[in-house]
Amino acid sequence: MTSFVAVLRKDLLLEVRGGQSVVALGALSLLVLVVLVFAFNPGGGEQGAEAAAGALWVALVFSGMLGATRAVSAENENGCIRALLMSPLDRAALYAAKLAAAFIFMAVAEAASIILMVLFFNLEFDARVLRLVPAVLLGALGFAALATLLAGISSRLRGGDLVLPLLAVPMFVPALIAGVKASASALSGAAVGEFAVWLKVLVAFDVMFVAAGYLLFEYVAEEE
């Protein structure tokens, strides 16, 4: 447990010291949202809510891939990953720490994305926006879990930056569907009970992928 905290603390400290990850994620989210506004030219009302929800999740996916890649490859500079592997640090604890760091970066970026989404898609800052927070957090956790594991693979392959999106996107589809549906429902004013089924899907997704990553990361982190 202390090791997990130590690694996470170190990652957050490095971020504060000019890691630029949160800034990069936020910038990427902003750009994605801008592109999508031009792409879909949404009106208001229910159609606007759906477009907004979709755009928010596209931004989440792209910034998530960047966030996970950075969290994992931060250890590649100077070969620090080797020192971590040689230490008594449990591989699963290392995964948990990287996952937590990626999740925190994503959560901050998502907060910014939500605000931008409300602005760009002409929505209101009211209770409906709050209702989409659980879906977004669950989605960010699930994506962070998935992408941290896959980034462990892609960061070790030459030309591996293609592999991460190639695998992460299809694997994330269930959570993407659930997240967009839940977000669209929340934004168009539905009560939580109506989209509770989607939240359950997100929870199931999160549980499975955090567990899978926790168990499998040690096989990814080894050297040849």
């Binding site: 010291r17 000019g18 020192a83 050297e223 040849e224």
Partner: protein, 234 residues
């Protein structure tokens, strides 16, 4: 004779079909030290990586404390220190923060005090709060050495420990290694030439063409007029 802490048994490593190490046999007991000398590309770093458990052997065994290095239990990993080509330091953390972090990972009590103590021992006390990013290569090397040794390991593996160190730095490193040996640590080091390590009491082995032989055997080889091999070993 006590069981060796570091042991390579018929160790082979090939990358694809190309053999880099073949039939390497080496053992180091507690309090003893071995130096592996070889030219660039001879496989010194590969050997150390195998013995550190970072890489898997193609054939044979790389053992630490009698167990396969690759799947070492956390309690045993705590007792191993590695100094490698890469500094394994975080550039944006200060010297003290780096040491404190690793001390915490290794379960060292009172990590901060230990970190400061070791900074003094490698003559980096003045630079304790400076970020590693601004360090010279020699300062990095000394800090990396501190990192390898601060948990008082029983096995120490040093890949070219005197690289980038000036005379003072080298003397410091030598003193620390000597102290570790006196403490009962088993030390394995690699270098281009034997001089400094032999003085410290290291048993010298030559790594050539993928395999290891003692210094005497290497000398005998040289005098048996085999030009290609001799060029490699000299």
């Amino acid at each position: 004779m006590t069981a060796p802490l570091i042991e390579a048994r018929a160790l082979c490593k090939s990358f694809g079909p190309t053999p880099v190490l073949r039939d390497v046999n080496l053992s180091v007991e507690a309090g003893r030290a071995a130096a592996v000398i070889g030219a660039n590309g001879a496989g010194k770093s590969t050997l150390i990586r195998l013995l550190a458990g970072l890489s898997a052997p193609s054939l044979g065994a790389a053992l630490l404390f009698g167990e396969p290095a690759r799947s070492l239990r956390p309690e045993l990993r705590r007792r191993v220190g590695l100094l490698s080509h890469q500094s394994m330091l975080y550039p944006n953390l200060t010297a003290r923060e780096n040491l404190e972090f690793y001390a915490t990972l290794y379960g060292v009590q009172d990590a901060r005090a230990v970190a400061i103590e070791w900074l003094e021992r490698v003559a980096l006390g003045a630079a304790a709060e400076a970020r590693v990013r601004g360090f010279s290569r020699g300062m990095e090397q000394r800090l990396a050495l501190a990192r390898a040794m601060l948990a008082r390991p029983d096995v120490l593996m040093l890949d070219e420990p005197f690289a980038a160190l000036d005379a003072d730095g080298a003397a410091l490193a030598a003193a620390l290694v000597r102290e570790a040996m006196d403490r009962g640590c088993a030390v394995l080091a690699s270098a281009h030439s034997a001089g400094a390590l032999a003085e410290l009491g290291f048993a010298v082995f030559a790594l050539g063409r993928g395999t290891v032989m003692s210094a005497e055997a290497a000398a005998a080889r040289r005098s048996a007029a085999r030009p290609a091999l001799a060029r490699q070993l000299s």
